[in-house]
């Protein structure tokens, strides 16, 4: 096959993508399939702990993929204990332990295989891959500093910013020297032991969740809100569930300093945000999960005039187009958009279609389903109850809810106390659904299909008219009938009636 020539605009490339993560790779592959000449620049700065990784971005290397596998390891541990109740001869609970180095190796091997497959895909699709740190010189010139020190300038018609983000280290004495982040946790050579997780967003909760299931002492430090941005009733239930499993929570507290002890432990001092009183404890590992920042300044986006949000430094974008007509952006660097891999992929593909194939479809950032992979999962799609009320007014909203008992919980006598779901809809018939929320086993699997239904305009009438699959957890959505407004007790009275 003859090498692809760039279009007649006079630049060497049609598109240069900075960032080889989900969004950047999706856009690059789509553009190449439409006959464009594309280069992808990818570079990973080592974390403060020295962790580095290969092609594919956060999701593949230090995000969704290792997280889901560690979560799976946690679920398997739980299933082993259940299994005894179902007749399997299982050794004493105490003798079942997790081999952390083995888990780490298996997960890292999987990641390496994905890195390789992605690399081969780029070759096969004829995307030029450059393992280099990219930065903008001007709107049409990307500077590439290769790993071996050589430098290149790439002249391009379009630029796609897709650098993603990295965890933040707050300016606290000892934090940078002593803390790890989600960049490091999945490749730690040894088990983290007694761990303090600072931050109660989904990353913090998921990490604390699997560590606790692995039998480690896990504490979550919460400044103000657990799972900010999510439905707060559901966030409260997730917190209760994690507490019941043994995770400790330090509410309304912030870290003050961290000091390494002679024995290698880290002394963390924190204070109450309510009365400033200080406390401290020793931990083997401190995991910082207080947020992520976009890598926009690293590529000098501000210096070529790309409009960034003054606080978050994220790109202010409309339909993935920045304020500069040939510079585009997708993924976690977008201001006010969900930081989710499938969102970045979809936005990247659609953008390439619009740029190079007269595509007309725009990315729909609403009603994107997501799941928090805590041991008991929380899947949701659409608006939280608070947000629905804020937009439509309490009088115009109906909330159907229920606690339910998964069939598989009875035999091992697992507590269904936090197995709960609710549907937030408009009050007027046919009660268009605005949001669905589910806590229970397989949250991601349960909510995905409903997301498609919501996209098609699902109503409560249609949902009630749907016949469930028995016995599943997802069918509970079709059995909802109690509204919050009615005041009827939403806890289940019997099993199958």
């Amino acid at each position: 096959m003859a090498p692809v020539q760039a279009g007649s605009h006079g630049y060497d490339y049609d598109l240069v993508v900075i960032g080889g993560g989900s969004g950047g790779l999706a856009a690059a592959k789509e553009a190449v399939s439409l006959g464009k000449k594309v280069a992808v620049l990818d570079f990973v700065d080592p974390s403060p702990r020295g962790t580095t990784w290969g092609l594919g971005g956060t999701c593949v290397n230090v995000g969704c993929i290792p997280k889901k596998l560690f979560h799976q390891a946690a679920l398997l541990g739980e299933s082993l204990h259940d299994a005894a109740c179902f007749g399997w001869n299982i050794p004493e609970r105490k003798s079942i332990t997790l081999d952390w180095p083995k888990l780490r190796e298996s997960v890292q091997n999987h990641i390496k295989s994905v890195n390789w497959v992605l690399r081969v895909e780029l070759r096969d699709k004829k995307v030029e891959y450059i393992n280099a740190r990219g930065s903008l010189i001007d709107a049409h010139t990307v500077h590439a500093k290769l790993k071996n020190g050589t430098e290149r300038e790439l002249k391009t018609d379009h630029v796609l910013l897709a650098m993603g983000g990295r965890p933040i280290y707050p300016d606290i004495p000892g934090a940078l020297e002593n803390c790890i982040t989600s960049d490091d946790i999945f490749s730690l050579p040894e088990a983290p032991g007694k761990t303090l997780v600072i931050g109660a967003g989904y990353i913090g909760l998921e990490c604390a969740g699997f560590l606790n299931e692995f039998g480690m002492d896990a504490t979550v430090m919460v400044r103000s809100t657990v799972l900010r941005g999510f439905d707060q009733q559901m966030a409260g239930l997730i917190t209760e569930e994690m507490k019941s499993r043994g995770v400790k929570f330090l509410h309304k507290t912030v870290p003050v300093r961290m000091e390494k002890q002679a024995d290698g432990k880290i002394k963390v001092t924190w204070k109450s945000v309510e009365n400033n009183s200080e406390s401290s404890d020793l931990f083997d590992t401190v995991l910082m999960a207080t947020g992520r920042r976009p890598l926009t300044l690293e590529v000098k986006a501000d210096q070529v005039g790309v409009k960034l949000h003054p606080d978050s430094k994220k790109v202010v974008c409309d339909r993935e187009l920045t304020n500069i007509p040939n510079i585009f952006a997708v993924g976690d660097i977008l201001e006010g958009k969900p930081e989710l891999t499938p969102v970045a992929i979809q936005a990247g593909k659609l953008l390439a279609q619009r740029l190079y194939n007269n595509g007309k479809i725009e990315m729909d950032y609403d009603n994107v389903a997501t799941t928090v992979f805590t041991p008991l999962e929380y899947g949701c799609c659409g608006l939280s109850e608070e947000e629905a009320i804020r937009r439509h007014g309490e009088d115009n909203i109906e909330v159907y809810h229920a606690f339910y008992k998964p069939t598989e919980f009875f035999v091992p006598q697992r507590s269904p106390a936090r197995c709960y779901m609710k549907v937030v809809c408009l009050r007027a018939a046919p009660q268009k659904i605005l949001g669905m929320h589910y806590i229970g086993p397989q949250g991601g699997e349960v909510i995905q299909g409903y997301a498609a239904a919501i996209k098609m305009g699902l109503t409560m009438e249609a949902l009630m008219d749907t016949v469930g699959i028995h016995p599943t957890v997802s069918e509970e959505f079709t059995r909802l009938w109690i509204t919050k407004r009615s005041g009827i007790d939403p806890t289940p009275q019997s099993c199958c009636s």
Binding site: N109, K112, S113, W116, R119, V120, D124
Partner: protein
């Protein structure tokens, strides 16, 4: 993907256990029967040029990955077949993560891949895990070809 298909299979899990024992024994056996080095790990592109492309005898190049279980299972089989030829053919091992460009140059996708090279030219290629008979035929072919 080829790699994962095999790893998850229960049957192969046993095979891995079996072959890992063979792995441990193999270096000793090789050292005692072979006067010259029959197996080596390629260090870089220059090393590949010198010891593979410019080799006087045919070379089987084994492109492998440390994360690939079928690769691990192939190792003792191909090494024993190479040992049988007593220096008529040598084995060069290329870690695709360490030498990605080299692997991509030779169009490696799924691993393991064996490439038979003679006088710097690719004569044959074998993708995936193979049994010993098939490996023997593959090696014989390149040794006997003119």
């Amino acid at each position: 993907m080829f790699v994962t298909k095999f790893v998850r299979h229960g049957l192969f899990a046993n095979a891995i256990r079996e072959t890992s024992d063979v792995c441990k024994l193999l270096p000793r056996r090789l050292a005692s029967t072979a006067p010259q080095v029959e197996v080596f790990h390629v260090q870089d592109t220059k090393d590949f040029d010198e010891r593979v492309k410019n080799s006087k005898v045919p070379v089987i190049v084994d492109f492998f990955a440390t994360w690939c279980n079928p690769c691990r299972m192939l190792t003792p089989r191909i090494e024993s077949v190479i040992a049988e030829r007593k220096g008529e053919v040598i084995l060069a091992k290329v870690d695709i993560d360490e030498h990605t460009d080299l692997a991509l140059d030779y169009d490696i996708g799924s691993v393991p891949v064996l490439i038979a090279m003679k006088n710097g030219k690719v004569e044959d290629k074998l993708i995936g895990l193979q049994d010993t008979d098939k490996l023997r035929k593959f090696v014989d072919k390149v040794v006997k070809s003119k």
